[in-house]
């Protein structure tokens, strides 16, 4: 047996060895320089959110018609590194920890970026902007309200531009159901409860079946309730000059009580805990099985809603009053994405030049597509020609805008909607919502989470705890009261070293008071 095998073996082994050598040789000079022909251009790599929105015939997030266009127009070769939107923390943590982070890391999560900066991953950029930038420098001077959000430990680390709109959460209601049951638009939380009960019992869809779930949820459900009572979960508040977590302001108990009440009265879907991506909830809303949507600027005015039910009328609910007064709907932080620069970046100048190009010219085609193909310009507003084509070929490109100057106003939304009746309805609703959002102030005592390491270390663990306790109180019946919940939360918080963290956050607040307004 051995003898026979041995004859052919040297050649086999030799060829195997050479294959292995070849493979290793290839991987050595790899380094992602696929387009070797155009090496003259400066280059860098940047992370980008992958929302799975690039249609197959358009290419991929790494390479498509528009990335080629970006490379050509900006004069910089950008290697895009897609990060799945729902997994940014684990993906980026792994990349950073293994030294494979891209030159530019872009995210909405300021706390995560603060941790990277604290770990020494990024470098300050003041100097580079001073030296290389013209357009972005001018933009920053014109919008100084961005500065505190870009500053970490007293130095500027991040690049950002303003959000198109700061409006975020919104309750939507079926105006046609209100009219049918002779109800008026609720102005307080108690009135909202009355309306919800009427929806549950009054058969507003007229199908003679007791099958209406009054309230549908989205990811903003808890946030909206917390905000009524000025006690957004996981955030810090200033109570008489003292930094306190929302759970311990005394007001959070009301938020728990509301959740428990609507659950017990059957005003919400009893199966919400297993509906983690809110697909069931969306289904309830777009099929007319539910009359109130605790939604956002995106969740509520779905195209399916109007396509399924042509006679349904949806309107935004103005901010509701509680015994603590009226708090507005959530306003997002003024900054759009935050981008930080890797400390090992070879060519900071290329990055700054790219940002300059983006804020000056690049963002416009990336927002509205090609003029004449995807939009036409009327009265300085881009008007979308074909919303289906736009959705397919343009909408994903927004991700490439590290910075931009898009602003969303009721007028620009209407203009952008074009001729599509469904899109027009959606634009109109979002426009109304933006007006509502701007009209009432929203209480946010800390513009961003305290950058205290001891707090960031436990915040993930605590967040799981409070999610658990909130669920227990909501579903737990008579023994698990809101007071019991607050008690639990206090215990869990002190288990995690809460009292010491409270002090550290207070110190941080005292030290940074001036830059926090």
């Amino acid at each position: 047996m051995h003898r026979k095998l041995k004859k052919g073996m040297p050649t086999v082994a030799a060829s195997m060895l050479s294959v292995m050598l070849l493979v290793s040789a290839c991987s050595n000079d790899g380094g992602g320089s696929a387009g070797t022909g155009e090496t003259a251009q400066p280059k860098f790599s940047a992370s980008i959110y992958d929302r799975g929105a690039v249609a197959a015939d358009q290419g991929t997030y790494e390479k498509n018609k528009w990335t080629d266009w970006i490379d050509q127009e900006s004069g910089v070769d950008v290697t895009w590194v897609p990060i799945p939107r729902s997994q940014e923390q684990d993906k980026l943590n792994v990349m950073v920890a293994s030294g494979q982070a891209p030159d530019v890391i872009t995210s909405y999560d300021r706390a995560m970026l603060a941790r990277f900066i604290n770990q020494g991953v990024a470098q300050p950029i003041d100097e580079y902007i001073e030296k290389y930038s013209t357009s972005y420098k001018a933009y920053l001077e014109a919008n100084p309200e961005l500065l505190p959000h870009l500053t970490f430990d007293g130095e500027m680390y991040a690049i950002a531009s303003l959000r198109p709109t700061r409006a975020q959460t919104q309750i939507w209601i079926r105006q046609d159901w209100l009219d049918k049951l002779n109800l008026t638009m609720p102005t307080t939380v108690d009135e909202l409860l009355e309306v919800a009960r009427a929806f549950r019992d009054g058969d507003p869809d007229g199908n003679n079946a007791n099958d209406t779930t009054a309230i549908a949820m989205s990811s903003a459900y808890g946030a909206i309730i917390d905000d009524w009572y000025m006690a957004r979960s996981g955030e810090w508040f200033l109570e008489d000059g003292e930094a306190v977590m929302n759970f311990f302001t005394g007001r959070f108990e009301d938020s728990l009580a509301f959740r428990k009440q609507v659950y017990e009265e059957g005003l919400v879907d009893k199966e919400f805990v297993t509906d983690q991506n809110h697909a069931r909830q969306k289904q309830l809303w777009v099929t007319g099985k539910s009359g109130i949507m605790f939604g956002t600027i995106l969740d509520g005015p779905y195209p399916e809603f109007f396509e399924n039910q042509s006679d349904a009328v949806m309107v935004p609910v103005p901010p509701l009053a509680t015994k603590y007064g009226t708090n507005g709907y959530q306003k997002e932080q003024p900054n759009y994405l935050l981008s930080i620069m890797n400390k090992d970046t070879k060519d900071p100048e290329a990055i700054i030049k790219f940002v300059d190009w983006m804020i000056e010219d690049g963002w416009r085609p990336l927002t509205y597509g090609e003029e004449g193909v995807h939009h036409v310009v009327q009265d300085d507003q881009a008007v979308i020609i074909d919303s289906e084509k736009f959705k397919n070929e343009v909408s994903f490109m927004g991700e490439y805008r590290i910075v931009h100057q898009e602003t969303m106003t009721p007028e620009s939304l209407m203009a952008a909607a074009g001729d599509d009746p469904v899109q027009q309805k959606i634009a109109e609703l979002r426009g109304e919502m933006i007006k509502i959002s701007e009209a009432t102030p929203y209480r946010k005592d800390f513009p961003y989470p305290p950058t205290v390491n001891e707090f960031s270390d436990v915040s993930g663990q605590f967040s799981k705890k409070w999610t658990e306790v909130v669920t227990q109180v909501t579903m737990g019946g008579p023994t698990q009261t809101p007071e019991w919940g607050i008690d639990q939360l206090e215990k869990e918080w002190s288990n995690l070293g809460g009292p010491a963290i409270n002090e550290l956050v207070q110190e941080w607040y005292e030290a940074n008071k001036d830059s926090l307004d």
Partner: protein, 306 residues
């Protein structure tokens, strides 16, 4: 010493081409299984990304200290061990029973198609299976509750949100997903049993059941023992995907296990050192259990792993 060394060298030089064939496998293990062990030292350090693995400050047993003093950790450890206990009691025997049944099926095409259908769940990811399980167990629209209320008049049960039912659902779903695939090894082992044994048993007048107990089962004893040892090594480990896709905030108290804890602390919370300490602790317990069970099984007269 010298003699052993020289004989090993003689072995290598005689079979050098066979050893060359072994190389890719060896390189794989060294590169991807042994070399990463170096990273385990961050469990004893305060890992900072920019200082690197070696450059970070030593922290002694600080992370283990925190681990053993964390009230949560004991709950998580308890959940992990309980779920694995159910798994050894109920999930482990399931493929054996299934393989015995399949082994008795005489019609070839029926056996084949049955096997194919049983293998199917193994190839479906937990993301999909999780969705399927949640919807068939839904109290309002799920098949199971509709049957329960229509046929038996029982009030709908919210299985997925009940700390009592959840571990049962978890265990049953494991059986559903793995039992079919698990039969492969047992069926192969049964194929190796000498047919003469069955003939002899038949001549002695043994019924089918007797044959199973006295021929088939003893015939696959060795396979069962080895699989049991391997299973014990995993006793500190509950597959992340399954738990993650089935759990929700109403059942954290029974559904939070070490793998989800490590994911939360290490990957989401970026507490690399602490998560490594948890993983190391888990690995060491697993190793000890494998050694103990291996020893026990060897003393019962089976071959064991080594």
């Amino acid at each position: 010493m010298k003699r052993i060394g020289s004989s090993l060298w003689r072995d290598i030089s005689r079979d050098k081409y066979l050893y060359l064939f072994l190389m890719p496998g060896l390189i794989f293990f060294v590169l991807f299984k042994y070399a990463p062990l170096y990273g385990e030292i961050i469990a004893f350090k305060d890992f900072r990304i920019m200082d690197g693995i070696w450059g970070s400050e030593w922290a002694g047993l600080k992370h283990f200290d925190r681990l053993f003093n964390d009230r949560d950790f004991w709950i998580i450890l308890r959940n992990t061990l309980l779920l694995n206990l159910y798994s050894i009691l109920f999930v482990f025997p399931a493929p054996i029973v299934l393989a015995l049944l399949l082994n008795e099926v005489r019609s070839h095409w029926f056996k084949r198609s049955l096997q194919n259908m049983l293998y199917l769940p193994h190839f479906i990811s937990w993301v999909v299976l999780g969705g399927v399980i949640i919807s068939i167990l839904s109290p309002s629209t799920g098949l199971v509750n509709i049957v329960l209320s229509k046929v038996f008049g029982i009030e709908p049960i919210y299985f997925m949100a009940s700390p009592f039912w959840w571990p049962i659902v978890f265990t049953l779903s494991s059986i559903w997903q793995t039992a079919g695939w698990g039969t492969i090894l047992y069926l192969a082992a049964m194929g190796n049993i000498d047919p003469q044994l069955y003939e002899a048993a038949k001549i002695d007048g043994a019924s089918k059941l007797r044959q199973i107990f006295h021929v088939t089962l003893p015939g696959i004893r060795g396979t069962i023992a080895i699989l049991l040892i391997l299973q014990m090594g995993k006793v500190m480990d509950v597959g992340f995907e399954q738990v993650f896709n089935l759990q929700n905030s109403a059942v954290f108290s029974v559904a939070d296990v070490i793998s989800t804890y490590v994911y939360r602390m290490g990957l989401l919370g970026a507490q690399y050192s602490y998560a490594t300490a948890v993983g190391l602790f888990q690995g060491i317990i697993g190793l000890i259990l494998v050694l103990l069970v291996n020893k026990a099984i060897k003393s019962m007269g089976e071959g064991g792993l080594w």
